[in-house]
């Protein structure tokens, strides 16, 4: 059964939801600049943009996160844990690409060998309300990456905007918790038809032609290829593509210490920075952009598939849109496949 949520009920729905959950949703920080943020008032939620600049991974894996705090008083040392999540959470409005990316990094943070409690605690406490992507951009290639603008992978609830209302699908146990929600009404057959129509139209718009089949094998042979010299040339060595990437998940751990107290913090890190691989001795095994760019591409299209059987790219297009030098990963993929 499918439900619908009238837009006039949307804010009351959010208010009601916030009684039980901490709500995270896109907020417009400047014209056209969106970020996921913990919502204090439903009015802050702004779903008018497409994907926010920073991806939804931030709700589970914040850019800067305190792991614990410590304090020394005389001979006593006190450590305060910050790993717990006190309230249930909802992330609202995440697009299928970002949600698919969360499923991918789940495998890193809650894998067989190691469980990252900071990530998994948030993940388990969170219900994901996905949002169908009615207007994919020309830079979107999710359909080439086993996704799609209406892909439900990873969503607990899924919303489809069809004008004056949202079509609502409850997809998992967490999603079914909303089946008694007073703002959800039964969807009419013509609502469903409209939803299907929008889905068909949107799915045709994204680029399904990016040739990723077999790219991991191709890259096996390319570690020392002169190709890397050329492909990195215009890269400025900033961190835009990695920080805005929904699947990049590297971090660095530091102590922010004062004399008698401090906190251990983990911050996002980027393989495109020289500091990332700088060793204490002064030696850097990835001394130039060539090695760093290779690492970024290899990790997504070779190492990650080897470890987890999936390419670590969901085709959201952020690295293309926001690169200050106009680097386009679609071209890089095509060039790799040409050999």
């Amino acid at each position: 059964m499918k439900w619908k949520l009238d837009k006039k009920d949307f804010k009351p729905f959010l208010q009601n939801l916030m009684d039980e959950y901490d709500l995270f949703a896109p907020v417009q920080f400047a014209e056209g600049v969106f970020l996921y943020k913990r919502i204090n008032h439903p009015e802050e939620v702004d779903l008018s943009g497409s994907n926010p600049q920073k991806p939804a991974k931030e709700v589970f894996f914040p850019q800067s996160e305190t792991m614990f705090q410590y304090e020394k008083a005389g001979k006593e040392a006190r450590i305060t844990s910050t790993e717990g999540v006190e309230r249930k959470r909802v992330i609202l409005g995440a697009r299928p690409c970002d949600i698919q990316a969360v499923s991918l990094i789940d495998q890193v943070f809650s894998g067989k060998e190691y469980t990252d409690v900071y990530y998994t605690n948030k993940r388990e406490a969170t219900t994901i309300i996905g949002m169908a992507c009615n207007h994919p951009l020309s830079t979107c290639f999710c359909t080439s990456m086993k996704g799609g603008p209406f892909s439900r992978e990873g969503s607990d609830l899924f919303l489809i905007d069809f004008g004056e209302a949202y079509l609502v699908e409850l997809l998992t146990q967490k999603g079914m918790a909303f089946s008694q929600n007073k703002f959800l009404k039964k969807a009419e057959p013509n609502d469903l038809d409209l939803g299907r129509e929008i889905e068909e139209k949107a799915s045709k718009r994204t680029d399904a032609s990016i040739p990723v089949e077999g790219i991991d094998k191709k890259l096996d042979q390319m570690a020392e290829n002169p190709f890397w010299e050329r492909v990195q040339e215009k890269c400025l060595g900033c961190r835009v593509c990695t920080y805005l990437c929904p699947t990049c998940h590297c971090f660095d751990i530091v102590d922010e210490a004062l004399t008698n107290k401090g906190q251990r913090v983990r911050n996002w890190d980027s393989c495109l920075s020289s500091l990332y691989s700088q060793e204490t001795s002064g030696h850097n095994p990835r001394p130039t952009n060539r090695e760093r760019t290779r690492q970024r591409i290899m990790h997504k299209f070779n190492y990650f598939p080897k470890n987890f059987d999936r390419i670590a790219c969901v085709g959201c297009g952020r690295c293309i849109l926001y690169c200050p030098a106009g680097f386009d990963i679609r071209q890089t993929i095509k060039e790799i496949q040409k050999g």
Binding site: G32, V33, L35, L137, E233, L236, V254
Partner: protein, 314 residues
């Protein structure tokens, strides 16, 4: 046509081996964007383009090409960065060949995007207009209304220094008393200024695109990356973000050509040039110095005079 002349010159320089490489602009994969192009052969030089979307300051790439002879396509601001860098002894004499282009001012892709409803799929220039097309619209926009803020107030569009000038020099605008966005900032109260600055810097994600895009940011170790001593933490606390933005701006005093590369690179659309332009105007007022105009005169903060009256010491 400027584009043809750039190609012609680039091919000549490459085939006669005057330079090892030409850095210019090529067609980008997105509308309203050109992309830096590195040409090593005359054939590759055929892909060089010139239009109002050539927004990058290419001199930032020179730091990693010290072992090559480089031909560089430069606008007015880029040539000023080159002079400023030469004063800091970043190049060997004769290492560079500058192909100067009088600049028609560059189009701000974000302003265009915000002016239309829907995604821009195609864009091209036609005289003083930009024709912008999307799935269900086609509009002609007046180019002058959609320039980058730094281009709007530019008074040095002609390259200050170049080995060859491609195209006819343009008529320069007079020096504005003050930059409109600086004037706006100056008219605010202290609290309002801080609030504006903090609103902007608070959405910084520390990707350092502003730093990497800037030709003047070339320290082997940036102060934010130093761990011993540690000047600043690596997280997103408001004080760390403010500290980064203040120090980054101040390090540009007397060195910034006002090209706007920092602001253009920022994925969070943080306003940055109101700070650097304010410093530029202060340096002009206090020391009568403009960055990158005279290849012999050191910037005020890089030199000293024993007869300096030091009136600021009270």
């Amino acid at each position: 046509m400027i584009q043809e002349k750039i190609r012609e010159k680039a091919k000549e320089l490459l085939s006669k081996k005057v330079v090892d490489i030409i850095i210019g602009f090529g067609e980008g994969t997105l509308p309203l964007r050109a992309t830096p192009l590195f040409a090593r052969s005359p054939e590759e030089a055929d892909r060089l383009i010139w239009n109002s979307f050539c927004q990058n300051n290419l001199s930032t790439y020179l730091h990693k090409l010290s072992q090559f002879k480089v031909g560089l396509v430069v606008k007015g601001c880029d040539s000023r960065s080159i002079i400023a860098l030469s004063l800091e002894k970043r190049f060997k004499p004769d290492q560079l060949f500058l192909i100067g282009v009088p600049c028609q001012r560059m189009v701000d892709r974000r302003r265009v995007k915000k002016a239309v409803k829907g995604e821009v799929l195609r864009a091209h220039e036609q005289g003083d207009q930009i024709i912008v097309e999307g799935e269900d619209f086609k509009t002609a926009l007046k180019k002058d209304d959609f320039l980058y803020p730094s281009c709007q107030v530019c008074i040095h569009r002609n390259p200050v220094k170049a080995n060859i000038l491609v195209g006819d020099p343009v008529e320069e605008s007079p020096l504005l008393e003050t930059h409109p966005e600086v004037k706006d900032f100056e008219s605010k109260s202290l609290e309002e200024r801080w609030a504006f600055f903090e609103k902007e810097s608070s959405r910084c994600i520390r990707c350092y695109a502003c730093r990497e895009a800037c030709p003047m940011c070339y320290c082997t170790e940036c102060f934010v990356d130093s761990s011993n001593p540690k000047w600043v933490e690596k997280g997103l606390s408001p004080s760390d973000l403010a500290f980064y933005h203040i120090v980054r701006a101040y390090h540009q005093t007397g060195r910034c050509s006002g090209c706007g590369a920092c602001e253009r690179a920022c994925p969070m659309e943080i306003r940055l040039t109101y700070l650097t332009q304010k410093l530029n105007l202060d340096v002009k007022e206090l020391f009568d110095f403009e960055t990158g105009i005279d290849a012999e005169v050191l910037p005020p903060l890089s030199t000293f005079k024993t007869e300096d009256r030091q009136e600021f010491i009270k």
